[in-house]
Subunit: 361 residues, 2 copies
């Protein structure tokens, strides 16, 4: 598709992946499976149907070194650095301002940088189906993942009218976006049907998206226009810094998707895992041994079941007599965690931050 | 005491202390508690009542570097290297041959190098009481630890006639030495009374011990005499190597103590811990936090109880949601072990050996 732009959001800090995820090299830059990073996998996935010149990445200045190192295939000017993180709406808005200068009628796919997606062919077909709707109906299209269990870790999208025609991939009008539910509510959603996981994948025409920003977040819109007006000038970095720091931190879901009317959903049936925690990595790992143990590097398991161990090159990690644990050894930091407590890793990171222990972060 | 010699046996490999205990630096050279190694603590303990010139250490040639590094206070000629380990009887016999050349009437205290002993004053009084018996009765004296639970990890010594006179420290004739019992037998021993843990601390007159070797291990005795005859000659290292490699591997308990008649026991009431495993270290650690966690270095415990963590300098180890675990991070090796499986660590070491992974051993 000629006028297709991709925006990969790579500014996250991935604290639940500590200790591998560090300030200077968060989750998206790690090779969790295979030899390439999640970001590189993401770029590759889009590069099969998007020109490299039309792939943008928004990230944080603190990640510039690793980002440039991992993206030699992209033009440097496509790497956009936020002075500070302000959640997804300002981030996407900023990138849309870049794209608008090239082509206001361009179709932009917004994608997280740190998800695991298999079936790249089906992924491509799904994105292109979404792009077609975005183009033809001037809608904002989200890709919804067909849920296979009542997850409480994802937001959901409830669909309305089924508008699938001759297409192989189902498409719907969207009724509403809902935040992460509790387990009972999630079970209800699955029983009721018509609910999808919010994948964070959005597709829209640049002009349509910016119009929605203008309508639902007018202050942000004005600020983004000021930034855009200074693009290419020597004063631009200072302008960006001053204005962007002052914008409200708000998600695209909350700021736009929950309000706009022209929202569509395309069903995503490709293998998808947001790798939200080490627990997700354990579950997604397809190379488990006969005791359900998985991991990376040189590992030894003795009387140990259903555990995940990450060991660095030239290291060994041995686990003895434990079930359901996650062990991650990375440089000067080691984590040992019960699988069910994987979400609590961010508390460790918070504590280290509070204690100013930057050497471990 | 003027004619008192100390022999510290420091040739052990301490595989149950992996991964801190490595081939080139086994357990006795580690600072488990405090700043000095267990060996250095042992030397200090004896140095308060033994001249440094009379403290011998038997170790293995593979440990020469770390041994010399840690023993600047001792004459180099007091460091005796076995070409190979042959258990305690050949080791003590070899050292006795050295001591005999200086003073056959000297009293020798044999001590492990890797035990934790507190109350140094009481320890000294106990050793001196044993030395007095060894000297006056020409007996071989063992120091028996008063058991406070039915341990299955130690050998026991059953006492016979109580021969305590005016002394403050109880002393007995010995009935027999028994190997590590099972739990039921150990419980019986405690109920029955008169049983002590075999501490590995022995005291004897050099000539008396060598006479016992001659009587109960005549082949070894002849071999040791040949080695002694070559002491100081250029051919000595070769002689030692050739003969020592061929001697039978046998413990002093099995080779002498279970057979000799003139055996005595002096009661040891000082705090004693053989630090047989990481579990012993956990139990012996007196600096536990309110959740029963202990350790060394920078550690973080979240929803974790009764665990022991060793973290190296400039490292952090975080444990989340686990109880009763041992975590030891040492260089390129990391161990995570349920406390009750602490004895199985040696299986990990065996496996690494079998796989020729010397870089982790």
């Amino acid at each position: 598709m000629k006028n297709l732009y991709t925006l990969i959001m790579a500014g996250g800090s991935g604290t639940r992946f500590w200790p591998r995820s560090k300030t200077a090299k968060p989750k998206q830059y790690l090779n969790i499976f295979g030899n390439e990073s999640l970001l590189q996998d993401t770029i590759k996935r889009f590069a099969t149907f998007t020109e490299n010149e039309k792939i943008y990445i928004v990230s944080s200045a603190t990640q510039a070194t690793v980002l440039e190192e991992q993206t030699p295939m992209l033009p440097k000017e496509n790497l956009i650095y936020e002075p500070v993180g302000r959640n997804t709406l300002p981030c996407i808005g900023l990138a849309a301002m870049f794209a608008e200068k090239e082509n206001p009628d361009g179709i932009m796919v917004v994608s997280p940088s740190d998800h695991l997606i298999e079936n790249n062919e089906l992924f491509k077909d799904t994105v292109l189906a979404a792009a077609k709707i975005a183009d033809e109906k001037d809608g904002i299209v989200t890709i919804g993942i067909t849920p296979n269990y009542p997850a409480t870790g994802y937001g959901y999208v409830q669909t309305a009218e089924n508008i699938t025609g001759a297409e192989k991939i189902s498409q719907f009008k969207v009724e509403r976006f809902v935040e992460k539910p509790n387990e009972a509510t999630a079970s209800d959603y699955l029983k009721q049907g018509g609910f999808y996981w919010n994948s964070g994948l959005f597709v829209f025409k640049v002009s349509v998206f910016l119009k929605a920003v203008q309508e639902f977040a007018p202050e942000l819109y004005a600020d983004l226009r000021k930034i855009q007006a200074d693009l290419g000038n020597p004063s631009y970095p200072q302008t960006l810094d001053t204005i962007y720091r002052a914008v409200e931190s708000i998600s695209v879901d909350y700021g736009i998707m929950e309000h706009a009317k022209n929202i569509y959903l395309v069903e995503g049936n490709f293998d998808w895992n947001d790798l939200g925690s080490w627990e997700s990595v354990y579950l997604a790992d397809k190379n488990k041994d006969e005791n359900g143990n998985a991991g990376s590097g040189e590992t030894m398991f003795l009387d140990t079941k259903n555990s995940y161990v990450y060991s660095e090159d030239d290291n060994v990690v041995a686990v003895v007599g434990l079930d359901d644990v996650i062990v991650v050894k990375d440089g000067n930091t080691t984590l040992v965690c019960k699988r069910e407590n994987a979400e609590d890793i961010k508390k460790i990171v918070e504590q280290l931050k509070a204690e100013n222990k930057a050497q471990f972060l």
